[in-house]
């Protein structure tokens, strides 16, 4: 899927860095992109996680998270990129333990993002979203 730089992707093809905690995975981005210092970046990352209702997973690594927690971390990583479009790629492949359309909708309500969220999913999952 060729997407330009203004798209933040949440995809099963883009895993978290395995030896970093959820917080570090998110804080990495402000450090490298916004050239914030570590304390400020950690604060931003923690704030974002708290906003999504998952500040308890900050110290967990990829292998210790449930699929929902992993998805939330990936989403936070996408959000902190501050790109105008957010694309969620095949959410069913990442959120197989929760009714995911509802879960995503709830997260979207918690996050204050100005851009658009787009979900790419298989056509046979269409009925799930209409509930």
């Amino acid at each position: 899927m060729a997407l330009s730089d203004d798209v933040a992707r949440v995809s099963p093809d883009l895993p978290l860095r395995a030896n970093l905690s959820a917080l570090d995975n998110i804080a990495l981005i402000p450090i490298y992109q916004g050239h914030f210092n570590v304390t400020e970046s950690n604060r931003q990352a923690l704030q974002l996680l708290a906003q999504l209702g998952h500040d308890d997973i900050a110290s967990l690594r990829d292998s210790d998270m449930t699929p929902a927690q992993r998805f939330t971390t990936k989403l936070a990583r996408g959000l902190i990129l501050h790109r105008p479009r957010l694309v969620i790629d095949r959410p069913g492949a990442m959120l197989y333990d929760v009714p995911y359309p509802l879960f995503i909708r709830r997260l979207a309500g918690q996050a204050d993002m100005t851009g658009t969220w787009e979900i790419f999913d298989f056509s046979w999952n269409q009925p799930l979203y209409s509930e």
């Binding site: 093809d13 978290l16 860095r17 990495l28 981005i29 450090i31 490298y32 050239h35 570590v38």
Partner: protein, 264 residues
């Protein structure tokens, strides 16, 4: 005839393969070197990874490594001393000790130690990152893997090999003194003279350059070998195997070249 052609072809393929590997390695090294000079590289995150790398490569194993250095030094010095006494050459014993241990054996063993411990770990980790798409994810997030993952490993490896070799060398000098002169200050003058005679500026600079090359070999080669891994999980062991083989060859080659430069 067919057999001959086939073997020539396979030889050519091997040579091309080696050249590709070597080119990839040096191109990678050149990029790393350029980034090293780039001030934007040196943010807090890179620095943290360097510290982490030094911690895992050098500090965590320090006590084991130093114990091992003492045992090896003690053994080698005892062998040199008794042999030298048997042949009536005990005046050369301290010189031989310093030359074999401090200049050659300990840096070599340090490099092997770090290659076995950290080199293999780096190779596996980079291979897994590659296979798991973590590198693509980092690239998508505009976190440069070179600065975030690879350069700190190179820097940490070089720092670790230099410091551990230096510490082992100092320890070997101490052990050598104790073995030759015992616990007293009587031998301080002649020992100092021997040390001063051997360790001139050129030799020390050569030692540092050798340690830097060792440090690069035990980190750069595993990183590039890991990056070459095809995106198949079962290729990870193969990648580690190839990388470690290259590391070993590189360490031996560096040692042989340094010996040749010094004594030929």
């Amino acid at each position: 005839m067919n057999f001959l052609a086939a073997s020539i072809e396979s030889l050519g393929a091997k040579i091309v393969g080696w050249f590709t590997v070597a080119y990839g390695m040096f191109a990678f090294l050149a990029r790393a070197g350029l980034l090293l000079l780039d001030p934007t590289t040196w943010n807090r995150a890179t620095f943290d990874v360097v510290i982490k790398q030094v911690y895992f490569t050098a500090v965590q194993i320090l006590h084991i490594f130093l114990a091992y250095a003492v045992v090896i030094s003690w053994l080698i010095i005892s062998i040199i001393l008794s042999t030298a006494r048997d042949f009536g050459l005990s005046e050369f014993a301290s010189e031989m000790t310093i030359r074999t241990l401090v200049l050659e054996l300990l840096p070599f063993l340090t490099a092997l130690f770090i290659a076995l411990r950290s080199g293999s770990a780096i190779n596996t980790e980079v291979a897994l990152m590659k296979v798991n798409n973590e590198l693509d994810a980092l690239a998508h997030c505009k976190v440069p893997p070179m600065q975030f993952e690879f350069l700190p490993r190179l820097v940490g490896g070089v720092i670790s090999v230099i410091t551990l070799s230096a510490l082992a060398g100092l320890l070997a000098l101490l052990v050598g003194y104790l073995a030759i002169y015992g616990v007293n200050t009587a031998g301080f003058e002649p020992y100092t003279r021997t040390i001063a005679k051997i360790l001139d500026f050129q030799i020390l600079a050569g030692l540092v350059v050798k340690c830097v090359l060792f440090g690069l070999a035990v980190t750069l080669i595993p990183v590039t070998a890991g990056l070459e891994t095809p995106k198949k999980l079962f290729m990870v062991p193969v990648s580690v195997l190839r990388g470690m083989m290259r590391v070993f060859l590189a360490i031996v080659a560096i040692e042989v070249v340094s010996l040749a430069l010094k004594y030929i």
